[in-house]
């Protein structure tokens, strides 16, 4: 344990020296480097919830953590989205004393799906919440069978799984296990018309390989599917979202009304999953604790200038389903709009002197067909893979006369035609936050000049 204490004390010292910075994972790097078994040896609270999934894990972790804090519980959390080992080590380091006594009541840890093994073995969670599983970045996450396999290898027998019953891939994790808890939307509550997605990560029955029948679909493969041959279908939910009350901003789960934090279906799913796991733990007065939660601004933001609303939406580049969902949300925003797509992170310019960029295959899984909506008057694509987007839009039968391809982000504002426009919707990759702030300021200046 000498090694462990050295790791703990040095990482605490570094954390202190950096003024308890939330943005720096180095304390965790130090702890892990000195003792690679740090996570195994660090003291744990009575209850540990581990959260993963293709989309929504950071939001859900933040939400669960915020709700718990509103019930005056001390929480270990890697709520900055730091879901690899250094981030998790740092989260624990913060909440144990120098003598490794845990000060927290509960741990809420987001973990990356691929790294379930061995993190889950170290953390021994009481609950593992899986928001959803679907195709993700090709480079790292391959396909859903691989992701499922990674998670299964890490699961401990004792953990209760909290699973999305509307997702046949996620819910398959519960097979052969006891103590599963499922959450789901009713068909009536999910009051959005689904479009026919390009990507459906499960189309055949995992038991008999017959084509699955879609009873109803919310998006992609999420919904109710049944095998017409052997009857395989979604499990029954323990936590059922029956109704969304947009007027009073509440959601009804199992007959109880909770405040609705954000009205996008993605975020309502996140809230539903949070309520499921917290109800299972027995957290009292959940509705009051939720009422005090502030919605995270990092994925949706808007500002109004000269009568034009500039909406800043995050769409995770390389994640086709996340971007498709964002585009669906974007096209449903009322008003005539320009959609600006900034989805390519350039990674290799300095090394090779060329903008190779990330693999482009993923755009052929994105439902760009949604941009054919009449309310979308102009589509502007920024980044060096602009020609690929033109090809993709052509194959989507999008009117290319309303598309503008702009290699340099700084040139985007100059091509915008603001006539008759109510909204400018920017769909941007997670890592482009700084470029976006500059772009938004440029757009505001243009609006002011033109008005």
């Amino acid at each position: 344990m000498i090694r462990f204490y050295l790791a703990l004390w040095l990482s605490k010292f570094y954390y202190f020296l950096t003024g308890h910075s939330n943005k720096d994972d180095k304390p965790g790097v130090i702890a892990n480097k000195i003792d690679p078994d740090f996570l195994k040896k660090v003291a744990k609270p009575k209850i540990t919830i581990c959260i993963t999934g293709t989309n929504g894990k950071t939001t859900t972790t933040n939400l669960v953590t915020a709700i718990l804090k509103n019930t005056n519980r001390r929480v270990i959390a890697n709520f900055e989205g730091a879901n690899f080992r250094p981030g998790i080590c740092k989260a624990y380091m913060r909440e144990v004393s120098i003598f490794n006594k845990c000060k927290a009541d509960i741990a809420v840890i987001e973990f990356d799906e691929i790294t379930a093994n061995p993190y889950l073995a170290y953390l021994k969670p009481n609950y593992v919440l899986v928001t959803n599983l679907s195709s993700d970045t090709m480079k790292r996450n391959a396909h859903t069978d691989y992701i499922l396999d990674c998670i299964k290898k890490g699961l401990n027998d004792e953990a209760s799984l909290v699973l999305n019953a509307d997702d046949l891939i996620t819910s398959s994790l519960g097979e052969g296990r006891d103590n599963n808890i499922y959450f789901s939307f009713t068909k009536e509550a999910y009051d959005e018309k689904a479009y026919d997605s390009l990507v459906k990560d499960i189309r055949i029955c995992p038991k008999c390989h017959s084509l699955l029948k879609e009873d109803y679909i919310f998006y992609n493969h999420i919904g109710k599917l049944t095998c017409p041959n052997c009857g395989y279908t979604n499990p029954k939910a323990d936590y059922l979202l029956n109704k969304i009350d947009y007027k009073n901003n509440t959601i009804d789960i199992n007959g109880i009304n909770y405040p609705m934090i954000n009205n996008s279906k993605f975020n309502i799913y996140n809230e539903l999953s949070a309520i499921a796991v917290l109800s299972e733990i027995g957290i009292e007065n959940l509705d009051q604790a939720i009422a005090k939660v502030n919605v995270t601004k990092s994925r949706y933001d808007s500002t109004v200038c000269g009568g034009v609303e500039i909406v800043n939406l995050m769409g995770k580049g390389q994640n086709a389903i996340a971007v498709s969902r964002t585009l669906d949300y974007a096209t449903k925003i009322e008003g005539n709009k320009i959609v600006i797509l900034l989805l390519e992170e350039i990674t290799e310019k300095e090394e090779y002197g060329t903008n190779l960029g990330e693999p482009i295959s993923w755009i052929y899984d994105v439902d760009f067909e949604l941009l054919k909506d009449d309310s979308v008057k102009e589509i502007v694509v920024g980044g060096t893979n602009y020609a690929d987007y033109a090809v993709r839009f052509d194959l989507a039968n999008i009117d290319l006369s309303k598309c503008k391809m702009v290699p340099e982000v700084d040139d985007i504002t100059s091509v915008l035609n603001l006539e008759g426009i109510d909204k400018i919707v920017i769909v941007r990759d997670l890592y482009l936050a700084d470029s976006i702030n500059r772009l938004i300021e440029d757009i505001k200046r243009k609006i002011q000049n033109e008005s």
């Binding site: 189309r203 084509l211 090779y352 899984d365």
Partner: protein, 227 residues
């Protein structure tokens, strides 16, 4: 022209279905059949010009082998009669003798080895005749002892006991480990294949060619970096 897309419900990873959308866009007189696992494949009873098989999850490769086994002779005759097959990603492995311990169709010599210790990704830059090809590898396996290689690797970390070559090319059977979508990202290869099929006047758009040129320039720049 008649195209048969085999098992689109499972052979559909990484956007490869857009190879078919690409064909539909550029070939005027075309009929496309989508054959599911429980269907009798069209090539077994009618004249088909092109069979397409996309990239698969590894468990699904077994389903494809089982589905095609009863039609193995028809498929072998189809290939020997110089009819065209185009398969991408790990789809070509179902035509080899084995995938690890799993018996495959044994239409071609060679075998595939799987490695699930981590997912393998790489860019690949190859050459087939005069054509430069660009694409990506995204898989958990690689092939050894391929008798009829397809393209010479110019740059990129290929795998197998002959990493200097990618894929299989025998008569008009083309199999590449690369994914793209391959026709979309390699329009000149697409045009070449259409010429073999006697489809003339394929007029590629400026954007398609510009995207290819941009990528080709980038891949060639990286190649120079390594030389």
């Amino acid at each position: 022209m008649k195209v048969e897309v085999l098992y689109p419900e499972i052979a559909n990873l990484y956007g490869c279905q857009f190879d078919i959308e690409f064909i539909k866009k550029y070939v005027a007189d075309i009929e496309v059949y989508y054959t599911n696992l429980n269907d009798k494949p069209h090539f077994s009873y009618e004249d088909i010009d092109l069979i397409y098989l996309g990239h698969l999850k590894e468990d699904d490769q077994c389903l494809v082998i089982q589905a095609l086994k009863p039609y193995q002779d028809d498929l072998t005759n189809y290939i020997e009669n110089e009819k065209m097959v185009f398969c991408v990603g790990n789809a070509l492995e179902v035509f080899l003798t084995k995938i690890d311990d799993i018996d495959a169709l044994a239409i071609f010599k060679g075998y595939a080895k799987r490695d699930f210790s981590s997912h393998y990704y790489a860019r690949l830059f190859t050459q087939y005749n005069d054509l430069k090809l660009v694409g990506y590898l995204s898989n958990f396996s690689y092939a050894n002892d391929i008798e009829y290689p397809f393209a010479k690797v110019l740059n990129g970390k290929n795998r197998g006991n002959h990493p200097e070559y990618d894929g299989i090319h025998y008569k008009n059977f083309f199999g590449t480990y690369m994914i793209g979508p391959m026709f979309v990202m390699n329009p000149l290869l697409f045009k070449h294949l259409m010429e073999i099929l006697k489809v003339e006047n394929v007029k590629l758009t400026k954007d398609v060619l510009e995207a290819y040129d941009n990528r080709l320039n980038a891949f060639e720049t990286v190649l120079k970096f390594y030389q």
